[in-house]
């Protein structure tokens, strides 16, 4: 994992803890672990999205809020890496 991806990963995990009360211990180290399996429903994902927008000063359009982009921590990391300059 390169430097920026590691920073994004840390940011995403911090947001999961802050906004969704998922204890850091409960976020699987495995990048492909499903966010749904962590008990996150569509409203929780939306809360993560607005948190990411706020933290990184970006816009995430509705059409991008898909399982492909928000199904797992790794997917969110990759999506955000593509969005950030």
């Amino acid at each position: 994992m390169d430097e920026s991806l590691a920073a994004i990963d840390a940011g995403v995990r911090a947001l999961l803890a802050e906004r969704l009360h998922v204890e850091p211990d409960d976020v699987p180290g495995d990048d492909d672990a499903s966010l749904q399996d962590m008990g996150l429903d569509s409203t929780a994902i939306l809360s993560l999205v607005t948190g990411l927008e706020d933290r990184y000063d970006v816009e995430i359009p509705d059409r991008d809020i898909t399982l492909d982009n928000f199904g797992s921590v790794g997917a969110v990391n990759r999506y955000m890496a593509g969005l950030l300059p």
Binding site: L20, H21, G39, D41, S42, L46
Partner: protein, 498 residues
Amino acid sequence: MTAVPGVAGHLASTVERCGARTALVDGDRRLSWDQLAEAVERRAAALAQRDVGPGHALAVVLPNDTDFVVTFLAVQRLGALAVPLNPLFTVAELGRHLAGCHVRGIATTAALAPAIAEWADRTTAGEGTWVAPAADLDRDAASAAGAPAPPATDGPALYAFSSGSTGTPKGMVRTAAQLAAEADNFYDTVGVTEGDAILALVALFHAHGLGNAVLASVRSGATLVLQAALRRDETLALIERERVSIFPTVPFAAQTLAETRRADRADTGSLRLAFTAGAPLARETFDLWGKRFGTPLRQLYGCSEAGSVTINLDDDADATAGSVGRPMKGIDLAIVREDGAPCAPGENGEITFASPAATTGYDGVPPQDNARSFAGGWFRTSDLGHVDAAGNLYVAGRIKLFISTAGYKVDPFEVEDVILRHPAVADVVVVGAAGSLGEEVVKAVVVHTEVTDDRQLRHELLALCREELAVHKVPRIVAFRDEIPRSPLGKILRKYLV
């Protein structure tokens, strides 16, 4: 024209007054009041052929779409009884809710119909119940036969549910006249007109959406703009395109929209009344909303038993931001002590009210329970609150233990019942843990029978919950303890668990 009671009567007079105006917007579909009335007549005829008549129940398991509105109004038109249920429920949950209702049929989506039909085939509760996609009902009906004349007297019109304290949802009947009174109260208090557009994003199967979107629109002639789920770009575009003026919502959706910076680029100037219900509104959300949309976010207080009870329309929105407002027209409010004596201004007590829109009792509970909850026409809500000197109501919490999460009420006992089925669980208590914005998240505190891998057990418990429960009831947090703290009298000390 003979007077028709209830919501059907409201529909008839609105159609007469507003015929060509837009009644309903659902994606690309637009119906005038005349077209909506035709669709309702067709649907009523189709339901009558499927044996739905006065006093008969029809389950309506649909999202916020045209079929929900048309089917609900067709049931009202027939003098039958609508049982709206959450389309996100698992089949097991639907079964628990339908067990006492004796529904003639279940109108649902094409996607849900096969699983529900399978449930109806294999259970006694579902015996003799037909299941059909709502959209197919009209097509399947024999042509030309009209619906029978609507009944001229009041009767059961809605079967609603309130989460009980036993893990079983409590059902109740509300009559056509009670629903009409609810619509009248809202109409008279808020001053809705046919020039308004109401955004119906809040679930229509729930009292908030049914009363403050559907009934309000049918009573006033306001356009009903439907959206099935919060999608921010779509929601903002709808507000702009349809000139939405009234927006009943929940704190979570309001917070999400207010956090969305690109909302500044949308023209939302048409919004004149946005209000939340179902959970406390955080001051942070109120402030952010005001900054983003330039109009204050208000609070409304209501319940399944009576629909809307109070709304905050105070001139000083900022000073009263934490209040759910004063009683709607036609409703009397009283805060009482445990012995029933009235509280002084500022003193917390149980919120009680008398409303022509309220049910007169729960279905299938011991008479003494109803005698306590509905004594003398006053409903005891089990909510705690106080009124200030100006009569503004502030809700302080609940005497009951429900968890309010993302606009839903979750009964902790229902979740506990599911978790207890896992063999490695010796004891469990489900509580609402405080979220960062004053909302609650479902938290399960588990005592296990033996030393286990906590992470593995957590995984299994979440999988079990997801199988049995709607997704908003699945615990966000699962914590493990050696024992559940109890008072010397054996009462669970929930405050040590949140």
